[in-house]
């Protein structure tokens, strides 16, 4: 029975789609890629060093490991860049939508009225790069969206906006 559902808002017209679509999706800060690559490269450097040492001291066969490691490292760096560039988000009238992933795509749509609280976190590296991650909590632990890699000021602003909207659109549990 056609309950006259309120006509979709104009910005709903393009619709939220898994692959993006017409909405004004916003990317996260590219520094996030750096923040994720640095620990990766550090680990890679340690592994390479170990590899070289073993190759020099024990058997030259281990030299084979070096190109393998380099290849794996290059692949990981490429992957991180792709992952980071795949994260995008948009604030709609009544919900915030976060998209992630290329191979494993996911999309979370959290209504402002369901927000319980918002966390902002940033580690030392992220702080040095001037980014922070914004974690959105609802009454259900599995529905929280996390939005990594926002410029710190923007993360704070987002939190303030979310809090304000959550207040006005609050629905019960």
């Amino acid at each position: 029975m056609s309950v006259p559902v309120a006509p979709p808002e104009p910005d709903d017209a393009p619709g939220v789609t898994l692959r993006g679509g017409g909405l004004a999706w916003r990317p996260v800060a590219p520094q996030l890629a750096t923040a994720r690559t640095v620990p990766l490269l550090a680990a890679l450097a340690v592994a390479l060093l170990a590899c070289v040492v073993v190759a020099l001291l024990v058997t030259p066969w281990v030299w084979l490991g070096v190109p393998l490691l380099l290849a794996a490292g290059g692949w990981a760096v490429w992957l991180v860049r792709r992952q980071v560039s795949a994260i995008s988000w948009v604030e709609l009238e009544e919900e915030i939508v976060i998209r992630k992933g290329r191979l494993f795509r996911s999309l979370v749509s959290v209504p402002y009225g369901r927000l319980q609280y918002v966390d902002i976190q940033s580690g030392p590296l992220a702080r040095a790069l001037g980014i922070a991650s914004c974690e959105i909590h609802t009454a259900s632990p599995e529905s929280g969206g996390s939005l990594p890699g926002l410029p710190t000021a923007e993360a704070e602003a987002l939190r303030a906006r979310l809090a304000a909207r959550g207040e006005t659109q609050r629905a019960g549990l």
Binding site: E94, E95, L103, Q169, G172
Partner: protein, 499 residues
Amino acid sequence: MTQPDTEGGWQRLHPLSPLLRGGVVLLAVLGYLVSQLVDEVLGSFDAGGYVPGGDAGPQEEWAWRAYPLLALAVLVLVIAAVAGASWVSWRFSRFRVADGQVELRTGVLFRQHRQVPLERVQAVETTRPLLARAVGLSQVVVQSAGGSDSHLTLAFLGAERAERVRAHLLELAGRSDEGAPAQRLPGAAEEVEGAEPLVAVPNGRLFVATILHGSTLVLGVVLVVGGFALGVGRVGLEVLAAAPALIPVVLGLGVSRVKELLVHGNFSLARSRTSLRVRHGLTDLRVASVPLHRVQAVEVLQPLWWRPWGWWRVRVNVAGVQGEGGDDEETTLLPVGTLAEALTVLGALGAHPEDPVLHEALTGTGGESGWTGPPRVARWLDPWSWRRAGYALAAHAVYLRAGRFTRHALVVPHARVQSLALDQGPLQGRLALASVRVVSTPGPVGPQVQHLAVADAERLLARVAERARVARRRVPDPAPALTRRPEPPLAPGGAPLVD
């Protein structure tokens, strides 16, 4: 109860409470002391005796041995001290219900004052642990949304008083959240706390249903095949070598089945004006109240082996009731029942028992109009159930169904949707499929539809989001959506679907 009949409305717990709370420990300590004493008294008559050789505490050993009467005096003193401490503890434990809050003060040195606002109360239950039951006491557990840490336990009260307190709290909590006109039930003459019995599950049926479980059936088959192989096939006794490996499996299985029986035994469900009242427990009888408007999502399921009997189980997600009660206890509204009984329970939750969509969700096999399911390519990922799986949107709720063998039917009211999520793995990506999760609060019900066509999944997302938006707006604050009159009542005849 707001008037100060005992200073400021504060009330005391039952005087035996501290003893019972420390009950087991106290018994253990007493038992230890007594056995020690008896040993020593007997030992002192032993002529040779043992020489208190240890250098640790010869004095004490001596004291015990030489002066049994002194030891007795110490014991009496200890008991007196415990009694005294209990009395003081009892004096300092007080609770009250006032100003829209339940408050409990405990502790002498380390004082604790816990307050739970009534509108945050999710459920109130009375339980009777074994020791307390022996002396006819109950405890009242006031559950709030913050998980088991934020619960407030009134232990202990006389059984009758506990029931009164529970009813009072529920009434206050129910009233303070309800705000809106009380729920109107068709043709039900409700008394104030007149719990109208809905369903009772005979223990015999529960027993059969408990045995009819995938794991027990598999085990039975294994045993039969094993026995057959031994007897007829003359496989040889080396097969028996595998038997010890089975023992833990059998044990674990037995424990889980017995636990199921213990938890769901003596099950009965009653409805009062604002809540459902669940009584269950074979040995530890529990009475829990589920306020109707806290119900977030409903699932009706039927394992394959229950199908010949036409049995169903109904469970729900209730806001704030996770963790403490385990996954099963407070959230199962019908452990095993006939279709009619399941529909009665659903009716109490606000569904229309003759709602065609509901019936399609329960037993449909796929292809009904109004239902959107996975497209044909989904058979590569879900060869058995793809035809049946799917969703239907009604005016007030979204219906999901899944499982060709073990049937699942889920209902989530639009006003109860926490958030929505789409997921797509690489294989799904190739086949242009995606899964949709309609996120509810924590609980046994996890509403989702797997392997929908991407366009359908996106449409579901958009529609549910839209409806949820409208429903949230329409229902201010704690929204008894599932429970209030189903907004536009699900017309049994017409098409209750929007498309």
